[in-house]
């Protein structure tokens, strides 16, 4: 793929990089108890991360 066009994954990575605080909070939540991870265990933190990502993606 020519490098002149930004690939979707690069945009995704850039937007995610702007949310390091939220990502760290979510990461800590999952890793804190990684032997007993359940679905939706960190839903609250994830939603914050996703909101931040969506806002960052819109700006870019």
């Amino acid at each position: 793929m020519p490098s002149s066009r930004t690939r979707p994954i690069e945009k995704f990575a850039r937007a995610t990089a702007r949310c390091s605080t939220e990502a760290a909070a979510y990461g800590k939540c999952v890793v804190a108890d990684y032997n007993a991870v359940q679905k939706g265990m960190c839903a609250k933190e994830f939603l914050k991360l996703k909101d931040c990502y969506l806002a960052a993606a819109k700006k870019a």
Binding site: F12, T16, A23, K28, M41, L49
Partner: protein, 360 residues
Amino acid sequence: MSLAHLFRPAARSPRIFAPRSPAHTCRTYAVQAPGNPVMEIFNRRTKHLQKDRAAHNVEESRKTDYIKDEVATRLCERLLDIKRDFPNVLDLGANSCNIARALTMPDPDPDSPTGSSPPLSTRISKLTCVDTSPALLYRDADEPFNQQMSLTREIIPDLESLPYAENTFDAVLSSLSIHWINDLPSMLAQVNKILKPDSPFIAAMFGGDTLFELRTSLQLADLERRGGVSPHVSPLTDVRDVGGLLNKAGFKMLTVDVEDIVVEYPDSFALMADLQAMGENNAILHRELGPMSRDVLLANEAIYRQLHMEEGARGVPATFRLIYMIGWKEGEGQSEPLQRGSGQLNLKDLLGGGEFQGGR
């Protein structure tokens, strides 16, 4: 409805199958009893397509050759220890002929007494590179290293059935390909067959803990977001099993060693994009089709950083564990290991003190 109605007796009385004529007594082919069960783990067609697709993007594909080139170089260094010429050599699963490139590198021997050594390719009269993906195999066909040695490229439909006669090759090399083989025991047995007696098979493959960071963080992300785990990273051969596998295939004088290469990536997306550009993306038979969900990718990035990033590091680490193996086909006059317990010298006396002295 009565039971008698349900279990109605057959309308006709049971027929006796008496042969009407001698012609009816012959047995015909019914079904073949299966031999050893063949494990199917990877989808060969998918892998073929992934390699082809990756190589069509020549620029990206070349940029992500860093691991393959490095490993090919380290693999070829092992040839320095074998003081002989190899008239006919096979490169099994050649990718973009990374081994050929490494063989033509000038001055490969750092410990050479004369200070310089000729490229390894001078000891090889003919190298045959085989792979399944034409786009990848012919990607660098115009590069200068092609003129520096006698190189033939061959496309074969399947690395698991080798179309070569017995006792054909003086050495078989393989770099970073056989971790995609479904039936490793059978492939190794075939390699042993096509080698001439007293000839080496030298290979490097990804094994064991390769990409364990990605494997674990994706598992956690999958679990937390979707409540279950789906296979994203291939199952790989363990170092402990390689000796047994080579032994079973009939190889003698085995050498197996392990090396970790840790690469730092800016983020997990860069790692996955690079793996894709290498043609090393997921090809597990029972993988989930279609792209990974963005939620999982987002969660994975956060978990990967939290779980594996070192303090103060700029990026996330990814471990590639390489298993190097050397096995020799049995041949006359080959040196053999001595009987167990027949040693006369204490290694401790020989190496001195019991303390670790060496180490470059």
